[in-house]
Homo-oligomer: 509 residues x 2
Amino acid sequence: MANPTTAITPTRSENYSEWYQQVVRAADLAENSAVRGCMVIKPWGYAIWENMQRVLDGMFKETGHKNAYFPLFIPVSFLEKEAAHVDGFAKECAVVTHHRLEVGPDGKLIPAGELEEPLVVRPTSETIIGATYAKWVQSYRDLPILINQWANVVRWEMRTRLFLRTTEFLWQEGHTAHATREEAVEETMKMLKVYAAFAEGWMAMPVLQGSKTDGERFPGAVDTYCIEAMMQDRRALQAGTSHFLGQNFAKASEIQFLDAQGVQQFAWTTSWGVSTRLVGAMIMAHSDDDGLILPPKLAPAHVVIIPVAHKPEDVAAVHVWTRSLAEDLRKQSFDGRPVQVELDLRDMRGGDKAWSWIKKGVPVRIEVGPRDIAAESVFMARRDRPHKEKSAVKRSDFVDGIAALLQEIQDGIFAKAQAFQAEHTKTIDTLEEFNEYFTAPSVAENIPTPIHGGFAFAHFCGDAKVEADVKERLGVTIRCIPIDDNPESGKCVITGLPSARRVVWAKAY
Amino acid sequence: MANPTTAITPTRSENYSEWYQQVVRAADLAENSAVRGCMVIKPWGYAIWENMQRVLDGMFKETGHKNAYFPLFIPVSFLEKEAAHVDGFAKECAVVTHHRLEVGPDGKLIPAGELEEPLVVRPTSETIIGATYAKWVQSYRDLPILINQWANVVRWEMRTRLFLRTTEFLWQEGHTAHATREEAVEETMKMLKVYAAFAEGWMAMPVLQGSKTDGERFPGAVDTYCIEAMMQDRRALQAGTSHFLGQNFAKASEIQFLDAQGVQQFAWTTSWGVSTRLVGAMIMAHSDDDGLILPPKLAPAHVVIIPVAHKPEDVAAVHVWTRSLAEDLRKQSFDGRPVQVELDLRDMRGGDKAWSWIKKGVPVRIEVGPRDIAAESVFMARRDRPHKEKSAVKRSDFVDGIAALLQEIQDGIFAKAQAFQAEHTKTIDTLEEFNEYFTAPSVAENIPTPIHGGFAFAHFCGDAKVEADVKERLGVTIRCIPIDDNPESGKCVITGLPSARRVVWAKAY
């Protein structure tokens, strides 16, 4: 790249949406496939997802869950059992109608072997898992069931965007069944906290926690809880949901048990999930105009070492020295696993190498040439600092301090995102200010074209029609009703009617 | 269970096939779902698969591969590109023809939104991955591509059996592209060796390695290599395949590159896979008439501790002591990870608990009561020994020796399977003996109804018609042509015609 001003074109402030696509491309994370709406997740993108899976899977197991696997296909009659659920998903289902192909009259393959009952490719698995739990549960002794599944799901989307909204995506879905309402509510909240802890502690992405309004609830749920994060264009992104399903799906699937008193009861169920959308969220929360910025705890590589030997006679010595440096670093541990090191021995200009790793978001870059070796030092750059900012560090200090450095970068990325969210969150009490907040362009440096204010904490009377009007008029929705045991009451910012609590309004992905 | 002679009914010798189903059920590994041919993998079964994934994934990464993810759906036109491939898979494809459901005249949901081109749920991904590689590869510098995918696949099966043959199954599929034939052949053989090492070193299952005859080859491959294991009914089970695809798929998908001389070339590709079928293979290779026997390296739990306190006043002390024992064991390491311990505190009779873990195949069971605590010892039983054989061991000796004990059990299971295979493998040179070997019942103790001899090493003239005749007449197929650089020539055991080498004949799953 010949002296670019920024590695990514356009920049965030020029065109945020296109900037996102270019960051994904420049970091080699994913691409559109030949199949409508389905993406190919490339090795660097998939490695980020693998790291997310590893950490989340550990958290699920810590909280008593086990993994299992349920069928990809759902008979249409199963979907029909829960009225709200089928309304929510019927419009976007991939439907399997045949079980073989045969050669048609024009020599082309055509579907054959029509199924008696069509099958839907799972958009989510409440119904098929519910049918299974109904067989497993007889007595209160069979409860709770605490199971998670890692799987692919399909929701036929018309407008797709890599990671954020794709027809097929990868996710986990927890499905639990309990003997009491209290226990199911507790589970719902526990998993919401797990998601929040993951988002903040690993993704370095501050989130708001709360419940959804009636209009934004999961089809079939009694209550949907969510974590919501702010992207750099100040829009909200729902990053995870935890649903209290009441007895809705238990009744639809007949999950019944004899309680300790010998009385037949319906179970109480929950479900909760996060998806590859988190990769998109993480990209949009932290990256800059030079490309991806990864929080070290989820980075596929923590450190990249670039040997720099201009003279042929130096190559061997530089390679030996950098190999031994890589080995020393791998003996260090960060966040419970060995420090991940890439040693870049590709036959390519050093500057091009450095830029490729900048765009891939590796937290720490090291350049090593003969002079560094002579001085027993390395030349270090951090991805969270401007790319020209480099400094010489003693090799031994660098190796000994690598875990602390990575933690410092992790904390810094989180603090920056927190400050950004705080800066663009406002308590609003008048309709005039509310309207202005979501329409007036403001000016700020180094952030995307500011088209609106961000998050607004404002009172809401609870009328679904008012909510729909605001969405129609301003493109603003209620992202969540914050969890707060002693909310301050007031007057609805839109209608002036009494309101029990403030809610969070924002434009959203 | 009231004094059972064996925990599993029927036994292997009574009805091997039904015994298998009952072992799967008794160990709570999997069950049939409401969706035709699709199974539910329950937590204990899935935990075995997770262990297999963890080890294999490490081996793939060690050999230079990275994970990625490609679409679930394949346009029918992609399948059509490779003639042999489409012939092999068109008869068993789940076909997606619509992308939503709507309410029909009778109030039932019916498929709507017909797709312009039907999509097939991937039965394997050569074609969709090939289309992607074609975009990635321009120059020899872009090669090799070494990628693996963990995924679900669907092949519409008419007769299914849990783990062994299901419509949907989980697997990994490696897909690599290379600049030269030699490199692709080397990759094919390297991954065959990885599978063999995994089967023998982790699954404790001895395997034969070889290539397939024309009739048994993967549709579209130039050469298919396989590992074949012997089950306890002496039938062969194909446990993994590695395909050298030549330039067939590169030509079908147009994976082309400019070589170092500037000449346009087609790439050479390979693919290789193992599936949840391995779980079925492991069950059938080792288990006995009391249920599952797991090689320790893949067991979800290595040790189960059963506290035995008949008097209420002993309960607290026994629980404290067993908890501390569990902690001490978890500090020990086996096969690179902490020893996995289950502490069974369920409110249930000790005998029932013990039987439940016997049937689940946990390698080591420990019972601890007040007298054991007083003696600072534990009462130990091994799953690879008769269930009544128990012995008192000093607690400290047990803890210090746990890794060695688990390795001893692992080695013992492997040695037993090796001896079984050797006992039921024969070099055969006459047609009379060949016919007798595969038809005559023989007698042996503690093995399933012996309906045939096992594996036969016999010469084969290479005529596909002869092979088909033997399959028709005896139900016997050529499992593999063993890899042997200096094979001994001879005369075909069927036709007497010249034969370059012996092949392995067997009845198979």
